[in-house]
Amino acid sequence: MNTSVNIAGVIMKNPVTVASGTFGSGMEFADFVDLSKLGAVTTKGVANVPWAGNPTPRIAETPSGMMNAIGLQNPGIDTFIKRDLPFLAEYDTKVIVNVCGKSTEDYVDVVERLADTSADLLEINVSCPNVKEGGIAFGQDPKALYDITTKVKAAAKQPIIMKLSPNVTDITEMARAAEAGGADALSLINTITGMKIDIYRRRFAVANKTGGVSGPAIRPIAVRMVYQVAKAVKLPIIGMGGIATAEDAIEFIMAGATAVSVGTANFRNPSVSQEIVKGIEDFMISQGIEDIADIRGCVD
């Protein structure tokens, strides 16, 4: 039985990684998960300098989901390279570093600093709805997405994964722009912009007013987008959005994803990522699937 997958030349031993921002750099989850059992660990977005993020409250619960407006708080690339990458290097897993920035230069800066590190893949977050500059601005305009993709690609030593925003009219247009710009892979979806109001206090539930909705609630939307993008481009896709069980992960793979990320579900069960790895194996055995690739995009 073969569960390994190939993302732009990087072989993950299984298709399961975690969604950026839901797993830190793995340190805190190491109590609950054997990180070496995951196909890859995807780290929280990191910028060229430390970011303070948004004021609290930063999260709120929504039906079968949550909303976050962390605002990409991060300790900056220096600390990340010194502290987090060496920690992850101890484990037998691939490392996907999620990169954020306020300007194209910021992104390029981080990508260059990562060139000679143990990072295996770079995931470029051009789809965060919770920051004023950068983030989603690049992810909602095909021209801007194309531009930043070409620049990041030119600077990057590792393969680059462009992370797409679902807050668009036509996700395939964005996927094609990233492909044309030289992306090696795509990941989707980032969170969907939402809002929650505390009606008794007449206040927004998160200080940032809006936040990004994630969790099982958005899964059908994410599966649809992965399916559409898989039909539209040739790039490998890391699918995510509400994956909470092995069945959910397989749904994304059948929709056309090569790998999958487990995000919000880590908050409901901190061991779930590893359980999903196991569950995919069980499914393959029970259904007589030899190679995970055999079910990729198998519905039409």
Binding site: T22, G24, E28, F29, T56, P57, E61, M66
Partner: protein, 267 residues
């Protein structure tokens, strides 16, 4: 990889007031090491509410492998917990966070420990009072000031077992009128060490009082949480100095707290 979510069995549920409930849980060997000030994450079985509810540990009986929590019904999660019956089970992750630090110096004889609990910040103080007593602090040197809204008090008799109890209430129906800081002043309590848990305004008051009097104070903070283990950065609090984890003066309440030295954090 030593930890995981686990299912605990409800041994007993008591309703203490109209909206305050106490649940005794059988927790096996899972959280026997829990110390006062730590909390657990409780999950509902209703999958539409997916985030955990952080609840402080109110008591632990290591021999019986029992843990007690006391909470107020304020929303859907706590409402579902309030309906739990003996024999039913509930999902838990924990113990989480860091508890109150009890230095050897502070435990030396004669030192006066003053515990300040406001509203639903009262329960963790019970475990702390018990622990101080267990560590040899005499009853007269453990003083608890409990702040309620009105005449509807709870847990006070249990605090009497380990400590001298002083009551305050917002409307003056029980004890003196005012908050716990009004209490500490009016009851003329002299503290060597302060420990507090309660709503934000109360903690601000404690921080100011501690600074004014030069007394070391440990306070337990609250914030909306998602992961509960320090990974998601939902639950941060501003600190005076740049902390080592965030590099931006944003300490994590769930992981680096919930108990902090009052002077370290900005409220």
């Amino acid at each position: 990889m030593s930890k995981s979510k686990f299912r605990a069995k409800v041994i007993e549920k008591l309703q203490l007031t109209e909206d305050i409930f106490s649940i005794l849980l059988y927790v096996g060997d899972k959280i026997s090491e829990a110390v006062p000030g730590q909390f657990i994450d409780l999950y509902t079985d209703d999958n539409s509410y997916l985030l955990p509810r952080p609840i402080s540990i109110c008591d632990v009986d290591r021999d019986k492998a029992e843990m007690r929590i006391v909470f107020r019904k304020v929303g859907k999660g706590t409402e579902l917990f309030s309906r739990l019956q003996s024999g039913e089970e509930v999902d838990i992750v924990g113990p989480l966070g860091n508890g109150y630090k009890l230095s050897d110096e502070s435990l030396a004889s004669g030192k006066v420990h003053v515990l300040l609990g406001g509203g639903i910040g009262i329960p963790p103080m019970l475990y702390l009072a018990k622990e101080l007593a267990k560590r040899g602090v005499a009853r007269e040197n453990i003083k608890t000031v409990l702040g309620f809204r009105d005449a509807t008090t709870f847990l006070t008799e249990e605090f009497e077992k380990y400590s001298e109890v002083y009551i305050t209430s917002d409307n003056g129906e029980a004890g003196i009128k005012g908050n716990v800081i009004d209490g500490i002043r009016e009851y003329k309590i002299n503290a060597d060490y302060l420990y507090a848990c309660g709503p934000g305004p109360m903690l601000k008051g404690v921080k100011a009082y501690a600074a004014e009097k030069g007394i070391p104070a440990q306070i337990s903070l609250e914030e909306r949480m998602a992961c509960g283990i320090g990974a998601c950065l939902a639950c941060v609090c501003k600190t005076k100095e740049i902390d080592d984890h965030s590099k931006v003066k944003n300490t994590r309440i769930c992981k680096d707290g919930p108990v902090f030295a009052a002077e370290e954090v900005e409220l």
